[in-house]
Protein backbone atom coordinates (compact mmCIF):
# COMPACT_ATOMS: atom_id res chain seq x y z
CA UNK A 1 0.00 0.00 0.00
CA UNK A 2 1.32 3.39 -0.94
CA UNK A 3 0.88 6.55 1.12
CA UNK A 4 0.61 10.18 0.12
CA UNK A 5 3.34 12.48 1.42
CA UNK A 6 2.96 16.11 2.13
CA UNK A 7 6.05 18.27 2.61
CA UNK A 8 5.15 21.66 4.03
CA UNK A 9 7.66 24.46 4.28
CA UNK A 10 10.43 22.01 5.19
CA UNK A 11 13.90 23.50 5.57
CA UNK A 12 17.07 22.62 7.42
CA UNK A 13 19.95 24.66 8.75
CA UNK A 14 23.22 23.34 10.18
CA UNK A 15 24.67 26.03 12.41
CA UNK A 16 24.70 29.18 10.27
CA UNK A 17 24.46 27.30 6.97
CA UNK A 18 21.27 26.43 5.17
CA UNK A 19 21.43 22.90 3.80
CA UNK A 20 17.92 23.10 2.40
CA UNK A 21 15.72 26.10 1.86
CA UNK A 22 11.96 25.76 2.39
CA UNK A 23 10.36 23.09 0.21
CA UNK A 24 6.63 22.59 -0.36
CA UNK A 25 5.44 19.51 -2.17
CA UNK A 26 2.34 17.32 -2.26
CA UNK A 27 3.10 13.79 -3.39
CA UNK A 28 0.25 11.47 -4.38
CA UNK A 29 0.16 7.87 -3.18
CA UNK A 30 2.18 5.69 -5.57
CA UNK A 31 4.03 8.58 -7.15
CA UNK A 32 7.77 8.40 -7.82
CA UNK A 33 9.58 11.67 -7.29
CA UNK A 34 13.18 12.03 -8.44
CA UNK A 35 15.42 14.53 -6.64
CA UNK A 36 18.14 15.84 -8.92
CA UNK A 37 20.67 18.55 -8.33
CA UNK A 38 24.35 19.24 -7.77
CA UNK A 39 26.31 17.69 -4.94
CA UNK A 40 25.67 19.31 -1.56
CA UNK A 41 22.32 20.83 -2.51
CA UNK A 42 20.45 19.06 0.31
CA UNK A 43 19.00 15.94 -1.35
CA UNK A 44 20.16 13.55 1.37
CA UNK A 45 19.07 16.05 4.01
CA UNK A 46 15.57 16.14 2.53
CA UNK A 47 15.38 12.34 2.47
CA UNK A 48 16.55 12.07 6.07
CA UNK A 49 13.91 14.56 7.20
CA UNK A 50 11.15 12.52 5.53
CA UNK A 51 12.72 9.40 7.12
CA UNK A 52 12.51 11.01 10.58
CA UNK A 53 16.26 10.60 10.94
CA UNK A 54 16.70 14.38 11.11
CA UNK A 55 14.51 17.18 12.42
CA UNK A 56 13.53 19.94 10.00
CA UNK A 57 14.44 23.47 11.13
CA UNK A 58 11.04 24.66 9.90
CA UNK A 59 7.97 22.93 8.57
CA UNK A 60 6.66 19.41 8.82
CA UNK A 61 6.22 16.19 6.88
CA UNK A 62 2.97 14.20 6.83
CA UNK A 63 2.86 10.65 5.54
CA UNK A 64 -0.75 9.67 5.00
CA UNK A 65 -2.41 10.72 8.24
CA UNK A 66 0.81 10.35 10.23
CA UNK A 67 3.76 12.51 11.10
CA UNK A 68 7.14 11.27 9.81
CA UNK A 69 7.90 9.92 13.25
CA UNK A 70 4.60 8.05 13.54
CA UNK A 71 5.14 6.57 10.07
CA UNK A 72 8.60 5.42 11.07
CA UNK A 73 7.29 3.81 14.23
CA UNK A 74 4.62 2.01 12.17
CA UNK A 75 7.46 0.73 9.93
CA UNK A 76 5.92 2.28 6.84
CA UNK A 77 9.30 3.55 5.63
CA UNK A 78 12.16 1.91 3.76
CA UNK A 79 15.54 3.59 3.29
CA UNK A 80 18.22 2.78 0.74
CA UNK A 81 21.25 4.63 2.07
CA UNK A 82 23.90 6.22 -0.13
CA UNK A 83 26.47 3.78 1.32
CA UNK A 84 25.41 0.12 1.79
CA UNK A 85 24.06 -0.73 5.25
CA UNK A 86 24.48 -4.49 4.84
CA UNK A 87 25.85 -6.08 8.01
CA UNK A 88 29.35 -7.37 7.25
CA UNK A 89 28.94 -10.64 9.16
CA UNK A 90 25.65 -11.63 7.54
CA UNK A 91 25.18 -13.61 4.36
CA UNK A 92 23.20 -11.71 1.71
CA UNK A 93 20.03 -13.71 2.23
CA UNK A 94 20.25 -13.45 6.01
CA UNK A 95 20.66 -9.70 5.72
CA UNK A 96 17.39 -9.52 3.76
CA UNK A 97 15.69 -11.72 6.38
CA UNK A 98 17.12 -9.50 9.11
CA UNK A 99 15.06 -6.53 7.86
CA UNK A 100 11.93 -8.69 7.88
CA UNK A 101 12.67 -9.93 11.39
CA UNK A 102 13.22 -6.45 12.84
CA UNK A 103 10.22 -4.98 11.00
CA UNK A 104 8.10 -7.97 11.98
CA UNK A 105 6.81 -8.15 8.43
CA UNK A 106 7.74 -10.33 5.44
CA UNK A 107 7.34 -8.30 2.26
CA UNK A 108 8.44 -11.03 -0.10
CA UNK A 109 10.49 -14.18 -0.31
CA UNK A 110 14.19 -13.26 0.14
CA UNK A 111 15.45 -15.89 -2.31
CA UNK A 112 13.06 -14.68 -5.00
CA UNK A 113 13.99 -11.04 -4.64
CA UNK A 114 17.72 -11.81 -4.69
CA UNK A 115 17.20 -13.82 -7.88
CA UNK A 116 15.34 -10.92 -9.45
CA UNK A 117 18.23 -8.66 -8.51
CA UNK A 118 20.57 -10.98 -10.43
CA UNK A 119 22.16 -12.37 -7.28
CA UNK A 120 21.37 -16.02 -7.84
CA UNK A 121 24.31 -18.12 -6.64
CA UNK A 122 25.52 -15.29 -4.38
CA UNK A 123 22.87 -15.61 -1.68
CA UNK A 124 25.23 -17.01 0.93
CA UNK A 125 28.08 -14.55 0.37
CA UNK A 126 28.99 -11.88 2.86
CA UNK A 127 29.52 -8.19 2.07
CA UNK A 128 33.28 -8.47 1.55
CA UNK A 129 32.78 -11.33 -0.89
CA UNK A 130 30.47 -9.28 -3.12
CA UNK A 131 31.40 -6.69 -5.72
CA UNK A 132 30.32 -3.08 -5.09
CA UNK A 133 27.41 -3.38 -7.49
CA UNK A 134 26.26 -6.70 -6.03
CA UNK A 135 26.49 -5.30 -2.53
CA UNK A 136 24.35 -2.32 -3.45
CA UNK A 137 21.72 -4.67 -4.88
CA UNK A 138 21.64 -6.59 -1.60
CA UNK A 139 21.32 -3.22 0.11
CA UNK A 140 18.25 -2.36 -1.97
CA UNK A 141 16.72 -5.80 -1.46
CA UNK A 142 17.19 -5.51 2.31
CA UNK A 143 15.76 -1.99 2.37
CA UNK A 144 12.50 -3.07 0.76
CA UNK A 145 12.25 -6.55 2.26
CA UNK A 146 9.44 -5.55 4.63
CA UNK A 147 7.39 -4.04 1.77
CA UNK A 148 7.25 -0.47 3.11
CA UNK A 149 4.63 1.89 1.67
CA UNK A 150 7.20 4.68 1.31
CA UNK A 151 10.63 4.06 -0.15
CA UNK A 152 13.41 6.63 0.28
CA UNK A 153 16.32 5.93 -2.02
CA UNK A 154 19.62 7.82 -1.97
CA UNK A 155 21.44 7.21 -5.25
CA UNK A 156 20.49 3.55 -5.10
CA UNK A 157 21.93 2.54 -8.47
CA UNK A 158 25.11 4.63 -8.38
CA UNK A 159 27.40 1.61 -7.91
CA UNK A 160 25.95 -0.31 -10.87
CA UNK A 161 27.28 -0.35 -14.41
CA UNK A 162 25.16 1.29 -17.10
CA UNK A 163 23.57 -1.92 -18.39
CA UNK A 164 22.76 -3.30 -14.97
CA UNK A 165 21.49 0.08 -13.94
CA UNK A 166 18.94 0.21 -16.74
CA UNK A 167 17.98 -3.41 -16.19
CA UNK A 168 17.42 -2.97 -12.45
CA UNK A 169 15.64 0.32 -13.07
CA UNK A 170 13.15 -1.42 -15.36
CA UNK A 171 12.74 -4.29 -12.92
CA UNK A 172 12.15 -1.79 -10.14
CA UNK A 173 9.52 0.06 -12.18
CA UNK A 174 7.63 -3.19 -12.86
CA UNK A 175 7.95 -4.21 -9.20
CA UNK A 176 6.34 -0.90 -8.21
CA UNK A 177 3.44 -1.64 -10.57
CA UNK A 178 2.64 -4.84 -8.64
CA UNK A 179 3.43 -3.42 -5.20
CA UNK A 180 2.77 0.29 -5.38
CA UNK A 181 4.91 2.50 -3.17
CA UNK A 182 5.46 6.18 -2.89
CA UNK A 183 9.11 6.77 -3.74
CA UNK A 184 11.59 9.58 -3.21
CA UNK A 185 14.54 8.82 -5.41
CA UNK A 186 17.80 10.78 -5.35
CA UNK A 187 19.93 10.46 -8.47
CA UNK A 188 22.63 12.29 -10.40
CA UNK A 189 21.58 10.47 -13.53
CA UNK A 190 19.16 12.63 -15.49
CA UNK A 191 18.10 9.91 -17.98
CA UNK A 192 17.39 7.54 -15.11
CA UNK A 193 15.30 10.17 -13.36
CA UNK A 194 13.22 10.91 -16.48
CA UNK A 195 12.82 7.19 -17.16
CA UNK A 196 11.53 6.33 -13.70
CA UNK A 197 9.91 9.41 -12.21
CA UNK A 198 6.45 10.91 -12.41
CA UNK A 199 7.96 14.24 -11.42
CA UNK A 200 11.47 15.57 -11.01
CA UNK A 201 12.41 17.99 -8.27
CA UNK A 202 15.29 19.99 -9.71
CA UNK A 203 17.44 21.63 -7.01
CA UNK A 204 19.73 24.63 -7.24
CA UNK A 205 23.31 24.38 -5.93
CA UNK A 206 23.82 24.75 -2.18
CA UNK A 207 21.97 26.03 -0.28
CA UNK A 208 19.38 23.93 -2.04
CA UNK A 209 16.16 25.40 -3.28
CA UNK A 210 13.67 23.81 -5.68
CA UNK A 211 14.20 25.42 -9.10
CA UNK A 212 11.41 23.66 -10.88
CA UNK A 213 9.15 20.64 -10.60
CA UNK A 214 9.26 18.86 -13.97
CA UNK A 215 6.46 16.42 -14.83
CA UNK A 216 6.89 13.34 -16.99
CA UNK A 217 3.29 12.83 -18.19
CA UNK A 218 3.70 9.22 -19.36
CA UNK A 219 2.20 6.28 -17.47
CA UNK A 220 4.54 3.90 -15.63
CA UNK A 221 5.96 1.31 -15.93
CA UNK A 222 7.75 2.48 -19.05
CA UNK A 223 9.72 0.19 -21.30
CA UNK A 224 13.13 0.72 -22.85
CA UNK A 225 11.55 2.20 -25.99
CA UNK A 226 10.62 5.30 -23.98
CA UNK A 227 14.27 6.36 -24.15
CA UNK A 228 13.79 7.05 -27.87
CA UNK A 229 10.50 8.89 -27.32
CA UNK A 230 10.64 12.59 -28.29
CA UNK A 231 9.00 13.50 -24.96
CA UNK A 232 11.79 11.71 -23.08
CA UNK A 233 14.45 13.49 -25.11
CA UNK A 234 12.79 16.89 -24.65
CA UNK A 235 12.34 16.53 -20.87
CA UNK A 236 15.89 15.27 -20.32
CA UNK A 237 17.24 18.19 -22.39
CA UNK A 238 15.15 20.66 -20.39
CA UNK A 239 16.42 19.31 -17.04
CA UNK A 240 20.00 19.40 -18.32
CA UNK A 241 19.68 23.01 -19.35
CA UNK A 242 18.16 23.93 -15.98
CA UNK A 243 21.13 22.40 -14.16
CA UNK A 244 23.66 23.83 -16.62
CA UNK A 245 22.31 27.37 -16.19
CA UNK A 246 22.80 27.00 -12.47
CA UNK A 247 26.37 25.84 -12.89
CA UNK A 248 27.08 28.84 -15.13
CA UNK A 249 25.44 31.22 -12.69
CA UNK A 250 27.54 29.84 -9.81
Amino acid sequence: MAAAISIRNVSRRFGDNWALRPVDLEIAAGELIALVGPSGCGKTTMLRIVADLQEPTTGEVRIGADSASEARRKRLLGLVSQRPAVLPWKRAIDDVRFTQKIAGRVGFDPATVLREFGLEGHETKRARELSGGMLQRVNIASAMAHDPSVLLMDEPFAALDEMKREEIGEWFDRELATRPKTVLFVTHHIDEAVMLADRLLVFSPAPGRVLEVVSVPVPRPRDAAFRQDPRFVAIAAHVRSLLAQQVEAA
Binding site: R48, A51, R75, L79, L87, W89, S142
Partner: protein
Protein backbone atom coordinates in the same frame (compact mmCIF):
# COMPACT_ATOMS: atom_id res chain seq x y z
CA UNK B 1 19.11 -20.10 11.33
CA UNK B 2 20.45 -21.34 8.00
CA UNK B 3 23.91 -20.12 8.86
CA UNK B 4 25.47 -23.57 8.91
CA UNK B 5 24.40 -24.62 5.44
CA UNK B 6 27.33 -25.52 3.18
CA UNK B 7 29.40 -22.49 2.37
CA UNK B 8 30.16 -22.05 -1.30
CA UNK B 9 33.13 -19.99 -0.25
CA UNK B 10 34.55 -23.09 1.44
CA UNK B 11 35.51 -24.31 -2.00
CA UNK B 12 37.94 -21.45 -2.32
CA UNK B 13 39.70 -22.35 0.92
CA UNK B 14 43.11 -23.85 0.14
CA UNK B 15 43.46 -27.52 1.07
CA UNK B 16 45.23 -27.87 4.44
CA UNK B 17 48.86 -28.92 4.08
CA UNK B 18 49.62 -32.60 4.80
CA UNK B 19 49.65 -33.51 8.49
CA UNK B 20 53.35 -34.16 8.97
CA UNK B 21 54.67 -30.80 7.70
CA UNK B 22 51.98 -29.08 9.77
CA UNK B 23 53.10 -30.81 12.98
CA UNK B 24 56.64 -29.90 12.00
CA UNK B 25 55.70 -26.21 11.66
CA UNK B 26 54.06 -26.11 15.08
CA UNK B 27 57.03 -27.91 16.66
CA UNK B 28 59.36 -25.40 15.04
CA UNK B 29 57.36 -22.45 16.33
CA UNK B 30 57.47 -23.82 19.87
CA UNK B 31 61.05 -25.05 19.78
CA UNK B 32 62.77 -21.94 18.43
CA UNK B 33 61.78 -19.64 21.32
CA UNK B 34 62.48 -22.39 23.88
CA UNK B 35 65.95 -22.99 22.42
CA UNK B 36 66.82 -19.30 22.30
CA UNK B 37 65.69 -18.78 25.91
CA UNK B 38 67.75 -21.77 27.05
CA UNK B 39 70.78 -20.53 25.12
CA UNK B 40 70.55 -17.08 26.72
CA UNK B 41 70.10 -18.69 30.11
CA UNK B 42 73.27 -20.80 29.79
CA UNK B 43 75.22 -17.85 28.43
CA UNK B 44 74.14 -15.78 31.44
CA UNK B 45 75.32 -18.52 33.80
CA UNK B 46 78.71 -18.82 32.06
CA UNK B 47 79.50 -15.15 31.64
CA UNK B 48 78.20 -13.85 34.97
CA UNK B 49 79.85 -15.44 37.94
CA UNK B 50 76.67 -15.32 40.02
CA UNK B 51 76.05 -18.12 42.53
CA UNK B 52 73.58 -20.91 41.73
CA UNK B 53 70.91 -19.59 44.14
CA UNK B 54 70.77 -16.41 42.05
CA UNK B 55 70.95 -18.12 38.63
CA UNK B 56 70.30 -21.85 38.88
CA UNK B 57 70.83 -24.09 35.86
CA UNK B 58 67.68 -24.88 33.84
CA UNK B 59 67.87 -28.58 34.65
CA UNK B 60 67.97 -27.70 38.35
CA UNK B 61 64.75 -25.66 37.91
CA UNK B 62 63.05 -28.54 36.11
CA UNK B 63 64.15 -30.80 38.92
CA UNK B 64 62.54 -28.46 41.48
CA UNK B 65 59.34 -28.40 39.43
CA UNK B 66 59.26 -32.18 39.67
CA UNK B 67 60.31 -32.62 43.28
CA UNK B 68 58.05 -29.85 44.65
CA UNK B 69 55.23 -30.58 42.22
CA UNK B 70 52.57 -31.14 44.90
CA UNK B 71 53.43 -27.92 46.75
CA UNK B 72 53.61 -25.90 43.53
CA UNK B 73 50.45 -27.43 42.07
CA UNK B 74 48.30 -26.63 45.11
CA UNK B 75 49.47 -23.03 45.03
CA UNK B 76 49.10 -22.83 41.28
CA UNK B 77 45.44 -23.75 41.73
CA UNK B 78 45.04 -21.05 44.37
CA UNK B 79 46.51 -18.44 42.00
CA UNK B 80 44.36 -19.63 39.12
CA UNK B 81 41.27 -19.28 41.28
CA UNK B 82 42.12 -15.71 42.27
CA UNK B 83 43.05 -14.77 38.68
CA UNK B 84 39.94 -16.33 37.17
CA UNK B 85 37.46 -14.82 39.60
CA UNK B 86 39.19 -11.44 39.33
CA UNK B 87 39.18 -11.68 35.54
CA UNK B 88 35.47 -12.43 35.51
CA UNK B 89 34.79 -9.49 37.82
CA UNK B 90 36.90 -7.23 35.63
CA UNK B 91 34.76 -8.19 32.65
CA UNK B 92 31.45 -7.89 34.42
CA UNK B 93 32.45 -4.46 35.72
CA UNK B 94 34.10 -3.27 32.49
CA UNK B 95 31.44 -4.44 30.03
CA UNK B 96 28.62 -3.69 32.46
CA UNK B 97 29.77 -0.10 33.01
CA UNK B 98 30.24 0.44 29.26
CA UNK B 99 26.66 -0.69 28.65
CA UNK B 100 25.36 1.41 31.53
CA UNK B 101 27.16 4.50 30.19
CA UNK B 102 25.62 3.83 26.81
CA UNK B 103 22.13 3.34 28.14
CA UNK B 104 22.21 6.28 30.57
CA UNK B 105 24.79 8.81 29.37
CA UNK B 106 24.68 10.90 32.58
CA UNK B 107 26.07 7.91 34.52
CA UNK B 108 29.17 8.24 32.40
CA UNK B 109 29.85 11.75 33.67
CA UNK B 110 29.20 10.56 37.20
CA UNK B 111 31.29 7.38 37.20
CA UNK B 112 34.01 7.78 34.59
CA UNK B 113 36.12 10.16 36.74
CA UNK B 114 35.96 7.60 39.55
CA UNK B 115 37.05 4.84 37.17
CA UNK B 116 39.98 6.94 35.96
CA UNK B 117 40.96 7.75 39.54
CA UNK B 118 40.89 4.10 40.55
CA UNK B 119 43.00 3.36 37.52
CA UNK B 120 45.67 5.77 38.72
CA UNK B 121 45.93 4.76 42.39
CA UNK B 122 49.12 2.68 42.79
CA UNK B 123 48.13 -0.97 43.11
CA UNK B 124 50.42 -1.41 46.08
CA UNK B 125 48.44 1.19 48.02
CA UNK B 126 45.21 -0.46 46.98
CA UNK B 127 46.38 -3.91 48.00
CA UNK B 128 47.42 -2.53 51.38
CA UNK B 129 44.03 -0.93 51.95
CA UNK B 130 42.19 -4.06 50.87
CA UNK B 131 44.43 -6.08 53.18
CA UNK B 132 43.51 -3.81 56.08
CA UNK B 133 39.83 -4.13 55.22
CA UNK B 134 39.48 -7.80 54.39
CA UNK B 135 42.75 -9.43 55.45
CA UNK B 136 44.20 -12.31 53.45
CA UNK B 137 40.94 -13.35 51.84
CA UNK B 138 39.82 -14.34 48.37
CA UNK B 139 37.85 -11.09 48.35
CA UNK B 140 40.82 -8.78 48.76
CA UNK B 141 42.90 -10.66 46.17
CA UNK B 142 40.19 -10.97 43.52
CA UNK B 143 39.24 -7.34 44.12
CA UNK B 144 42.73 -6.17 43.23
CA UNK B 145 42.80 -8.33 40.10
CA UNK B 146 39.41 -6.93 39.06
CA UNK B 147 40.45 -3.34 39.82
CA UNK B 148 43.58 -3.67 37.73
CA UNK B 149 41.80 -5.36 34.84
CA UNK B 150 38.47 -3.64 34.39
CA UNK B 151 39.75 -0.42 32.89
CA UNK B 152 41.06 -1.77 29.58
CA UNK B 153 37.81 -3.74 29.22
CA UNK B 154 35.73 -0.62 29.93
CA UNK B 155 37.61 1.67 27.56
CA UNK B 156 37.75 -0.85 24.73
CA UNK B 157 34.10 -1.81 25.07
CA UNK B 158 33.12 1.87 25.01
CA UNK B 159 35.16 2.42 21.85
CA UNK B 160 33.79 -0.75 20.28
CA UNK B 161 30.20 0.26 20.92
CA UNK B 162 30.83 3.42 18.92
CA UNK B 163 32.32 1.50 15.97
CA UNK B 164 29.07 0.68 14.18
CA UNK B 165 28.59 2.48 10.88
CA UNK B 166 26.11 5.37 10.94
CA UNK B 167 24.19 3.92 7.97
CA UNK B 168 23.59 0.72 9.90
CA UNK B 169 22.22 2.63 12.86
CA UNK B 170 19.97 4.57 10.45
CA UNK B 171 18.78 1.27 9.08
CA UNK B 172 17.80 0.10 12.55
CA UNK B 173 16.09 3.40 13.33
CA UNK B 174 14.03 3.34 10.14
CA UNK B 175 12.84 -0.15 11.10
CA UNK B 176 11.97 1.16 14.56
CA UNK B 177 14.25 -1.42 16.18
CA UNK B 178 14.31 -1.50 19.97
CA UNK B 179 17.40 -0.43 21.90
CA UNK B 180 18.09 -4.07 22.64
CA UNK B 181 17.81 -5.16 18.99
CA UNK B 182 20.17 -2.43 17.83
CA UNK B 183 22.53 -3.22 20.68
CA UNK B 184 22.62 -6.98 20.36
CA UNK B 185 22.37 -7.27 16.57
CA UNK B 186 24.52 -4.38 15.39
CA UNK B 187 26.53 -2.56 18.04
CA UNK B 188 27.72 -5.52 20.09
CA UNK B 189 28.98 -7.48 17.07
CA UNK B 190 30.86 -4.34 15.99
CA UNK B 191 32.34 -4.08 19.50
CA UNK B 192 33.50 -7.71 19.68
CA UNK B 193 36.94 -7.14 18.11
CA UNK B 194 37.71 -4.38 20.66
CA UNK B 195 36.41 -6.45 23.55
CA UNK B 196 38.58 -9.38 22.47
CA UNK B 197 41.62 -7.10 22.25
CA UNK B 198 40.96 -6.03 25.84
CA UNK B 199 40.79 -9.66 26.99
CA UNK B 200 44.31 -10.25 25.72
CA UNK B 201 45.52 -7.51 28.07
CA UNK B 202 43.31 -8.29 31.05
CA UNK B 203 43.63 -12.08 30.74
CA UNK B 204 47.40 -12.29 31.07
CA UNK B 205 47.70 -9.40 33.52
CA UNK B 206 45.23 -11.17 35.84
CA UNK B 207 47.82 -13.87 36.55
CA UNK B 208 50.59 -11.35 37.15
CA UNK B 209 48.47 -9.18 39.45
CA UNK B 210 47.17 -12.22 41.35
CA UNK B 211 50.76 -13.33 42.02
CA UNK B 212 51.77 -9.83 43.11
CA UNK B 213 48.84 -9.66 45.54
CA UNK B 214 49.71 -13.06 46.97
CA UNK B 215 53.33 -12.06 47.28
CA UNK B 216 52.32 -9.07 49.39
CA UNK B 217 49.55 -10.35 51.58
CA UNK B 218 48.86 -14.05 51.20
CA UNK B 219 49.92 -17.42 52.56
CA UNK B 220 48.71 -19.29 49.47
CA UNK B 221 49.35 -19.09 45.73
CA UNK B 222 52.40 -18.76 43.53
CA UNK B 223 53.13 -15.32 44.97
CA UNK B 224 53.40 -16.88 48.40
CA UNK B 225 55.70 -19.62 47.01
CA UNK B 226 58.07 -16.91 45.77
CA UNK B 227 57.98 -15.20 49.14
CA UNK B 228 58.61 -18.47 50.94
CA UNK B 229 61.46 -19.39 48.58
CA UNK B 230 63.16 -16.03 49.08
CA UNK B 231 63.13 -16.44 52.82
CA UNK B 232 64.85 -19.81 52.39
CA UNK B 233 67.35 -18.68 49.75
CA UNK B 234 65.67 -21.00 47.25
CA UNK B 235 66.35 -19.13 44.00
CA UNK B 236 65.60 -22.32 42.11
CA UNK B 237 62.04 -22.32 43.45
CA UNK B 238 61.55 -18.69 42.41
CA UNK B 239 62.64 -19.62 38.90
CA UNK B 240 60.30 -22.59 38.88
CA UNK B 241 57.38 -20.32 39.76
CA UNK B 242 58.46 -17.75 37.19
CA UNK B 243 58.55 -20.46 34.56
CA UNK B 244 55.05 -21.67 35.49
CA UNK B 245 53.60 -18.15 35.63
CA UNK B 246 55.11 -17.16 32.28
CA UNK B 247 53.84 -20.35 30.68
CA UNK B 248 50.41 -19.72 32.16
CA UNK B 249 50.22 -16.13 30.92
CA UNK B 250 51.26 -17.32 27.52
CA UNK B 251 48.66 -20.11 27.48
CA UNK B 252 45.92 -17.68 28.57
CA UNK B 253 46.93 -15.17 25.93
CA UNK B 254 46.87 -17.84 23.22
CA UNK B 255 43.55 -19.20 24.44
CA UNK B 256 41.92 -15.77 24.47
CA UNK B 257 43.43 -15.04 21.09
CA UNK B 258 42.10 -18.28 19.58
CA UNK B 259 38.66 -17.94 21.16
CA UNK B 260 38.51 -14.26 20.22
CA UNK B 261 39.38 -15.10 16.63
CA UNK B 262 36.34 -17.35 16.46
CA UNK B 263 34.08 -14.54 17.71
CA UNK B 264 35.60 -11.89 15.47
CA UNK B 265 33.58 -11.57 12.29
CA UNK B 266 36.44 -9.76 10.55
CA UNK B 267 38.90 -12.60 11.08
CA UNK B 268 36.23 -15.18 10.22
CA UNK B 269 35.57 -13.45 6.91
CA UNK B 270 39.24 -13.26 6.03
CA UNK B 271 39.87 -16.93 6.74
CA UNK B 272 36.92 -17.77 4.57
CA UNK B 273 38.45 -15.75 1.76
CA UNK B 274 41.44 -18.07 1.91
Amino acid sequence: MPTDIALPSDQTRPAPPPLLPRVGMVALRVLTPVCSVLALWYLAIWFSSLPAFVIPRPERVLDVLWVDRAFIFVNLLATLKVATIGFLWANIAGIGLAILFDLLPPTRHMLMPAAITLRNVPYIAMISVLMLAFGDSILSKTAIVALSGFFPVLVNTMAGLRAADEVQLDRMRILNASWWQTFSQVRLPYAIPSIVAAQEITGSSSIIVAIAAEWMISSTGLGYVINHAMQNYRGDQVYAVALIATGLSFVIYSLVHALGGRLDWRVAGEQRRG
